[in-house]
């Protein structure tokens, strides 16, 4: 059974139809990159995967649980879905370590010593062990995003959502963040990544989805989508971004 199944997903903002009948599947351990021009609905699509956007119609089924069902305890579901935002959204009033420990402290049945150990080892994974006790404002953008990844991982999720994780970064910071993401992918994390980094998509993705105007226009392996696009829109888009 697929890890994540999307059926007839619709999302409206008032009268505006942002997502129009999307169908989509992700297998466990798959890395899916979602590409497309801005305003195509890809971020909204991603945010429906943990119901940060209310779902207007259809269903999003993760491990057999339908997120669109209002009787589901969404908080419990979200514990298993990590999310990384374009603008990091670190908690500025907490240190790096506190940022990572906050949610497990609140929600997990572990001693705070265990939580602390996990947090420190995650910081090692993202290469920021020396920053445990500083406040986010003293970090560079790339460092902030790596902390944000560690924070999301602290809840031990089995799906990670990345919403344009490198778009707000200076070019020299992008590499470090992508490295961390590649490491995660290699370890078998199921990942949905909205991105403009075509290189990353080509190299890491198992599956690429091209979205435009609220539809999935084309999907397939990176080779299929990047080298043999079938849809005119995909061709147009790729021509512009791959110059």
């Amino acid at each position: 059974m697929p890890k994540l199944v999307v059926k007839h997903l619709k999302k409206n903002f008032g009268d505006l139809e942002v997502l129009k009948d999307l169908n989509f599947e992700v297998e466990e351990g798959e890395v899916v990159c979602i590409i497309g021009p801005s305003g195509s609905g890809k971020s909204t699509f991603l945010r429906c995967m943990n119901r940060l956007e209310e779902i207007t119609g259809g269903s999003v089924i993760i491990d057999g649980v339908d997120l669109a069902d209002p009787s589901q305890n969404i908080n419990k579901v979200r514990e298993n879905i990590g999310m990384v935002f374009q603008h990091f959204n670190l908690f500025p009033h907490l240190t790096v370590l506190e940022n990572i420990m906050l949610a497990p402290d609140e929600l997990k049945d572990e001693t705070s010593e265990e939580t602390r150990k996990t947090a420190l080892s995650l910081l090692e994974t993202v290469g920021l062990s020396d920053k445990a006790d500083v406040y986010p404002k003293s970090l560079s953008g790339g460092q902030k995003q790596r902390v944000a990844i560690a924070r999301a991982l602290a809840m031990k999720p089995d799906i990670m959502l990345f919403d344009e994780p490198t778009s707000a970064l200076d070019p020299e910071m992008v590499g470090d963040v992508l490295e961390v993401m590649k490491k995660l992918a290699r370890e078998g994390m199921t990942m949905l990544v909205v991105t403009h980094e075509m290189g990353f998509a080509k190299e890491v993705a198992d599956h690429v989805v091209f979205m435009d105007e609220g539809y999935i226009m084309e999907e397939g392996t990176p080779d299929q989508v990047f080298n043999h696009p079938q849809n005119e829109r995909t061709k147009d888009f790729l021509e512009k971004v791959l110059v």
Binding site: N50, N75, R78, F85, H93, L102, A103, A148
Partner: protein, 488 residues
């Protein structure tokens, strides 16, 4: 023997009668008391005066009743050898008490007129109080009513002075400024907005004696005469003694001494100096200030609680809570605080048939009003933090409540502190509006001192300085605390 028997039965009946009367014991006791000679120390004449009406009656520093009325009746009592006891009541209550024989006499700057003569017997007039014109101390231009042509004159609404000026207007072109109270009216001339003022001679002469910077270029007009009154057909002896005594004290100079003491402007009071004003009134000012602070602290504390709840409503995901909050804020923001204070103090007791003290009404006014503004600041603080921060916390699986408590609120508080300090200062200043429902906070304390000393000019400077000092101090204190909190 027959005669003796009759005497016996007379005594018997008398005893029986006395026993019978004994059932109405209080009546008997009262009767026996009123049998004691009236006007002695055991059974003094009860005299009513107004509570405060300077220079005729007012309490001095030692809480004794003094003034023209009080001093005259005391001097006459001494001259005639009877004892009196003052029972101060406001003027209309005094009239009712006299009519009901609860008091024996009334001396309260009361004009003798035909309507009153139907209910009361009056003494010979002991004072004539006519309207008089006053001008600024330095004014040399106005020496007669003719000089008023083209000038501006201040009057108090509904007084004989106002009526007199209306008559003058038939002859001269005079612009009139209307006032509700004497102190403000006098200040209008002192500060040069009006050129002259018309008021009762004794009240104005006393004000000038107290240091008001006005002068009286003309003699007073003929006016009402004041008399001492007893109930119709009662206490004729007291009335006789008053008339005889009045003649005596006029003859021996006591009367003139009394009048001069209160009205002679050559013996000017020196209390209008800036520091003398503070020195003489610091206790009253301090009481006013502590009332102001008490009102502020109590109101702000409750408003903070209430405002935070409403602010959370406003920032909540539930439309009904947001609606409640928005409705509340809309109503409170649309209501001038003065109207709100009147509504709470006058309308609510009438509508709900309850009693509210002015203090409680004042606290309610400030609380309800500040809570609306605080809730807006809380909402603003939460919204400034919300968005990405709330999403990040929610995406980790934390509930709305946990996310608010652990992530949003700690940041929102830091954002809100400066505007909350500001709101505290505004609340403190708004307490001055409550003087309108009679709470003696700092502003009202100032008004009261001015009503007594006629020193608007200096007094408002003093009051203003006190507000500035206390607010500056409190702002400094809260900035200090704020810095400590942020560094912590």
């Amino acid at each position: 023997m027959r005669k003796g028997k009759r005497i016996h039965s007379f005594i018997l009946y008398s005893i029986l009668f006395a026993l019978f009367m004994g059932l109405g014991l209080p009546t008997v006791v009262q009767a026996s008391e009123s049998n004691a000679k009236k006007g002695t120390a055991q059974n003094p004449y009860i005299i009513t005066t107004d509570i405060t009406y300077p220079p005729f009656e007012f309490q001095n520093d030692k809480k004794e009743y003094v003034g023209i009325d009080a001093d005259i009746i005391n001097a006459i009592a001494k001259d005639q050898g009877f004892e009196i006891e003052f029972r101060p009541l406001n003027f209309s209550a005094g009239l009712q008490a006299l009519e009901a024989n609860q008091v024996d006499g009334m001396i309260s700057a009361m004009s003798i007129n035909p309507e009153r003569e139907e209910s009361f017997d009056f003494s010979d007039p002991y004072y004539e109080a006519g309207t008089v014109m006053a001008i600024s101390e330095n004014n040399k231009e106005i020496q007669s009513y003719d000089d008023l042509n083209g000038k501006t004159v201040a009057v108090k609404v509904g007084t004989t002075g106002a009526t007199f000026v209306e008559k003058l207007q038939e002859k001269y072109s005079i612009k009139v400024n209307q006032f509700e109270d004497s102190a403000t009216m006098y200040q209008d001339v002192v500060s040069g907005h009006s050129d002259a003022v018309f008021d009762d001679y004794p009240v104005m002469a006393y004000a000038i004696q107290q240091g008001l910077k006005l002068q009286l270029p003309l003699e007073p007009e003929k006016g009402d005469v004041y008399g001492f009154a007893v109930n119709k057909g009662q206490n004729a002896e007291l009335l006789d003694m008053f008339n005889t005594g009045l003649a005596n004290i006029k003859e021996d100079g006591t009367y003139d001494n009394i009048i001069d003491q209160y009205l002679d402007s050559d013996e000017k009071g020196s209390q209008n100096g800036f520091f003398a004003l503070i020195q003489k009134n610091w206790r009253e000012l301090l009481n006013g200030l502590s009332k102001t602070l008490l009102l502020t602290v109590i109101s702000f504390a409750i408003a903070l609680l209430f405002g935070v709840v409403l602010g959370f409503f406003a920032a909540s995901p539930y439309a009904i809570l947001r609606g409640i909050s928005r409705l509340y804020v809309t109503i409170m923001r649309g209501l001038p605080m003065l109207v709100l204070a009147f509504f709470i103090y006058f309308s609510i007791p009438e509508l709900l048939n309850i009693k509210l003290t002015a203090f409680i009404a004042g606290v309610a006014t400030l609380t309800l009003s500040s809570a609306a503004y605080i809730s807006e600041q809380v909402r603003g603080g939460i919204e400034a933090v919300s968005g990405g921060q709330l999403e990040a916390a929610r995406s980790l699986g934390m509930s709305y409540g946990k996310s608010m408590v652990r992530v949003v609120i700690p940041q929102a508080i830091k954002i809100m502190i400066p505007s909350l300090i500001n709101q505290f200062v505004i609340t403190l200043k708004d307490t001055s509006i409550l003087s309108i429902i009679g709470i003696v906070e700092l502003t009202q304390a100032g008004k009261i001192i001015i009503a007594r000393t006629y020193s608007s000019g200096s007094m408002w400077i003093i009051i203003g300085l006190i507000y500035i000092l206390i607010i500056t101090f409190l702002t400094w204190l809260s900035t200090f605390i704020e810095r400590k909190m942020i560094n912590a």
